[in-house]
């Protein structure tokens, strides 16, 4: 029979424990909610600032999207050339970067002798962490002069320079993610295909790669996200002219660079229009992710 005062003490310390448990759980919940709060704040502030000119000051949203003149001093805000530049640059980078990246990923996971893969894979992974500015520095120092001399351009900073820099920058991301996806394909798939008489290469392209489709899609989406959102590296090689690009050698100004170049001195409506540019960029990324998710879920079926 325990002493009554002891029972009381245990109860008391138990209650304290329960209170501690309760408080800590709520504290953890609050921490988890901070990311939700941040997302709301980011969307809220960027959209509030960016939509203000169209709601309060009567600017036309259609003119903003399809207008081809961006002259803040004359109160003209059209971002059509930048939208076109962003789309061209991203598609171009995808066309070059995705095949090379996927070939490398397949090589590393399926073909390469183990010692070689063991050196290259971590090296590529490391390169995914190199600051993107450095890719821009390299682009300006090597790619831009190369284009200028070999294509006879007045100025090497051009759409094609942006495409090349972005394609190179995407490579490590695509390779790393796709390689992991391909390695995760169960061995039995390969064995089954080989046992049925398919060649090793046929097995890779017809069985292994399709089985890793969703991971490969994820790799492409990540690479794409990196390309479309890249800013500082692009400023260095884009030339930043406000024209609708008609050829690969035209100097361009994608959406991201417009924001970074003018944010420093913009105020009032001009600044709000930069936020509106941000909204357009944001919507692009949402749409692209959505489309690619759809494609990959369809492919999976």
């Amino acid at each position: 029979m325990p002493n009554p005062s002891e029972v009381k003490q245990t109860n008391k310390s138990n209650r304290l424990k329960y209170i501690m448990e309760f408080i800590s759980e709520k504290l953890f919940l609050i921490c988890a909610l901070i990311s939700v709060l941040s997302l709301f704040l980011i969307i809220g502030f960027v959209f509030f600032k960016g939509s203000n000119p169209f709601i309060a000051d009567g600017y036309s949203f259609i003119d903003f999207i399809f207008g081809s003149d961006w002259i803040p001093s004359e109160d003209k805000y059209g971002i059509f050339p930048m939208i076109v530049a962003s789309i061209y640059a991203t598609i171009g980078a995808l066309v070059i970067g995705v095949p090379i990246g996927l070939l490398t990923a397949i090589f590393l996971s399926e073909i390469a002798p183990k010692p070689i893969a063991k050196i290259i894979s971590p090296a590529v992974q490391l390169l995914a962490g190199i600051p993107s500015v450095l890719y821009g520095v390299f682009g300006l120092a090597i790619i831009v002069p190369f284009l200028q001399n070999n294509l006879g351009l007045v100025k090497g900073q051009s759409l094609i320079a942006v495409i090349l820099v972005l394609a190179i920058m995407m490579l490590p991301t695509i390779v790393t993610v796709a390689e992991t996806a391909i390695r995760a394909v169960p061995k039995t798939y390969r064995e089954g295909s080989l046992a049925l008489g398919a060649s090793p290469i046929g097995t890779i392209f017809k069985v292994v790669v399709p089985a890793a489709k969703s991971g490969i899609m994820a790799a492409i989406v990540l690479g794409l996200g990196r390309a479309i959102g890249e800013t500082m590296a692009v400023i260095l090689v884009a030339g930043n002219s406000l024209i609708i690009p008609t050829s690969l050698t035209d100097s361009v100004r994608p959406l991201t660079t417009n924001i970074a170049l003018e944010m420093g001195y913009a105020y009032g409506t001009h600044q709000e229009m930069l936020f509106a540019t941000g909204i357009v960029l944001f919507s692009f990324i949402l749409i692209l992710n959505f489309v690619l998710a759809k494609i990959s879920s369809k492919g999976g079926k």
């Binding site: 919940l29 980011i42 490391l126 993107s132 930069l274």
Partner: protein
Amino acid sequence: MRKFKDNLLLGLLWFGAFLTVAILLIIVGYIFYKGIGLINLDFIFGDYSPVGGGGIWPMIITTIYTIVISLVIATPVGILAAVYLQEYAKQGKLVRMIRFATESLTGIPSIIYGLFGAVFFVTTLAMGMSIISASLTLTIIVLPVIIRTTEEALKTVPASYREGSLALGSTKLQTLYKVILPSAMPGILSGIILSMGRIIGESAAIFLTAGTVAAMPEGIFSSARTLTVHSYLVTQESGDIELAAAIGIVLIVMILALNFAATFISKKLNKADY
């Protein structure tokens, strides 16, 4: 015919891999080749001089400031958020919403974070273009990274550990900090180290929130430039590729060191017994 096609595809695979390795080697090689001439103790520890020839010590200090401040905030918040998601929450609407928000944050480009930081921290909260504004913006950028890596680390802790501890009469909280968190520590630490790499490599968001003052920061409320922003600005303003490449070497070495540290820590701690 099939043989020919196979050989062609095989050749393509070798070619693709060769191209990737060659391109990446050329980039790193070029940066080292161009920049190595400038690297010496005066360059790293010297004060910046606007007329040229100075060092990059102020930028290194600024970079360290941003790493420390953003991690001091993001680490506890991120770990506790992951603990909630993995150990406490019942799967449902709330958890789905939190996961969705965390994933969405990962996909937002850094320039948008920069815009947000510029209107929220710099203007609305009146912190001005400063190290603190940049660090708080960076906190949000690395938060999803820390949450995700911690969640992964918590998943690897066997359920029997939790059951054993609870069966011995420990409370959930005691189980958490005496059993679960210590066993998940290697994973959590490598997550933190990886976010350091992310902070070091960030440029656009910092450019819009910390400004570009090239001087030793007097405190966290001064405007300053990090290494990446400095590297960008010297290229953009004066076309000084050599200087940009030398800063690039410092950045690459930092990233390398962090990666080694991450691998080392997770190996070392995995060997330890709990």
